[in-house]
């Protein structure tokens, strides 16, 4: 295995574990951010430059900050006392079983064995992505725009103070 890949994968997975295991919510979200940056770097290694930078722009620049705001608005800045998890062992057992099943499927898959070990870098031009978005995928693009608008309005309405409706 390539050492750069090993480091990136280790950081990504380790940060994800920390994000799920830490007591303090802000630390969790910071670890999530590290994990998402690690994933973006994995995309870069796979040759998907555009997807990697979009991942950093959206997740680090917007989603992580959004979660931070939610943490602070719900008074989650301090480490909570008491239990942080419900039935941790059974939950972990189920998750481990899921992982074991996926890993078994990956190991047994005949389709994966037929794939090239390290195929040539496919051309990924932003122009092609743009053509695709305004050509074949123009309807999904419009739907996503509608979805984002709906999410924006819905988020504001849900989080708005309840006083006005009372």
């Amino acid at each position: 295995m390539n050492p750069i890949f090993a480091i990136l994968a280790g950081v990504t997975v380790g940060a994800a574990v920390a994000a799920m295991a830490l007591r303090n919510l802000v630390h969790s979200v910071l670890c999530l951010t590290v994990s998402l940056v690690g994933l973006a770097l994995l995309y870069l290694r796979l040759g998907a430059e555009f997807a990697g930078f979009v991942q950093i722009l959206v997740y680090v620049g917007a989603v992580a900050i959004l979660i931070m705001f939610a943490v602070l608005l719900t008074r989650g800045g301090e480490a909570p006392p008491g239990r942080i998890a419900n039935a941790p062992w059974s939950g972990l057992a189920v998750a481990a079983a899921v992982f074991a099943m996926i890993a078994w499927a990956i190991a047994r898959s005949p389709a994966l064995r037929g794939m090239a070990k390290d195929p040539a870098q496919p051309p990924l031009s932003v122009k092609a992505i743009g053509d695709k978005l305004t050509g074949d995928l123009v309807l999904p693009l419009q739907v996503v725009a509608l979805l984002l608008t709906a999410a924006l309005v819905g988020g504001v309405v849900i989080a708005m103070s309840e006083k006005e409706t009372e």
Binding site: F53, L57, A64, I65, M68, V126
Partner: protein, 412 residues
Amino acid sequence: MASLDQIFVALKDWLVAFVPVALQPLAGALLSIVAIMAVFPGIFALTTVVERKLLARFQNRPGPNRVGIPLTKIRLAGFGQFAADGIKSLTKEDIVPRNADRIVHFVAPFVLVAPAFLSLSVVPVGRNMAALDFRETGLLFFFAVGAATELSVFMAGWSSRNKYSLLGAMRGIAQMLSYELPLILSSLVVVMMAGTLSLATIAERQSGVQWGVVHSWHVFTPWGFAGFLIFLTAACAESNRTPFDLPEAESELVAGYFTEYSGFKFALFFLGEYLGMFAISGVAITLFLGGWNAPFTFLDWVPSWMWFFGKLVGFILFFIWLRATLPRLRVDQLMDLAWKFMLPMSLVNLVVAGVWHLAASWPHLLRWPLCVAILALPYWLLSRGFQTRFKTRTYRFAEESRPAPATAAAGP
């Protein structure tokens, strides 16, 4: 003159040729890193002195004029000040608040400085002189890396366990998120017209000639001019400069999110802020002001990197001038400006760019007034039109605004 233009590129090639072939890409990257790490902090050091001296001049006082070369009588008009400041900040005690979150508090300044260097590395500072050239995603890389700034601001503000820090961080993040939209939308116009995200290609594209002797900078078009103004305002807000310096307003929040930093870490925050300003100015130059191109064709003999750094110095002086001139905005005014004025204007500007592109074959006398009209009408409506129509502007003074006790009890 072509040799002087490419002197740094030639120097790098000459130096890289000394190492074995297998290590040459690594050596080239290292040299670029060393150049960026030397040049931009150098400009930062000079900028701190120039800023202090110019602000002093604006306020009719002399400013720092003592520190020169030690043990001699040479004063250099105070330009030794940055060395004294640097030594001072390095030797000062590093104070961490007792309740602070130590790890996050320690990491925050590095999360600010490292992306600032990264974003500087994609800016083409001269012909063939971009350290990192992403042919496909250059501008996207710049904005993606800039996203880390918000994270650093949050980390610094939250980990300090100080109300000034947290308020400053919250203000800063709200401001940066709001102004990122007009910033990205106004640079999108250039991407639309240039058809590429590579900053080097965008700079090269502006070396064409129009009106006889003028290089075709994007700022010399209606969409480019409007985009440049929006970008400049948003850049000012992104780099937390006055009049948008609410996150670190000295008179309200001590120093905002880095109140609880001292010594070297404070200096790192300072460095990171200025590097961010240089990077965003560099991108503004590349997108709108022709990058390393001369304004007129008869000035082409001046080396390209000199044009870039000249424009950069112009930007720095402009920002200092703004700081000395304009008062600080209120938070609600800041948000109003971003969401109710700059965002709609940058969307209108996208339409203008489309019209300009479709009307490419029209005569200039028709194309220009049409695009200017599309821009001017929303400008008037958004700035004055809606307000004069629906409400008259009122001025409140201290005596009048004091409410009667009865109404104060029933207030919100």
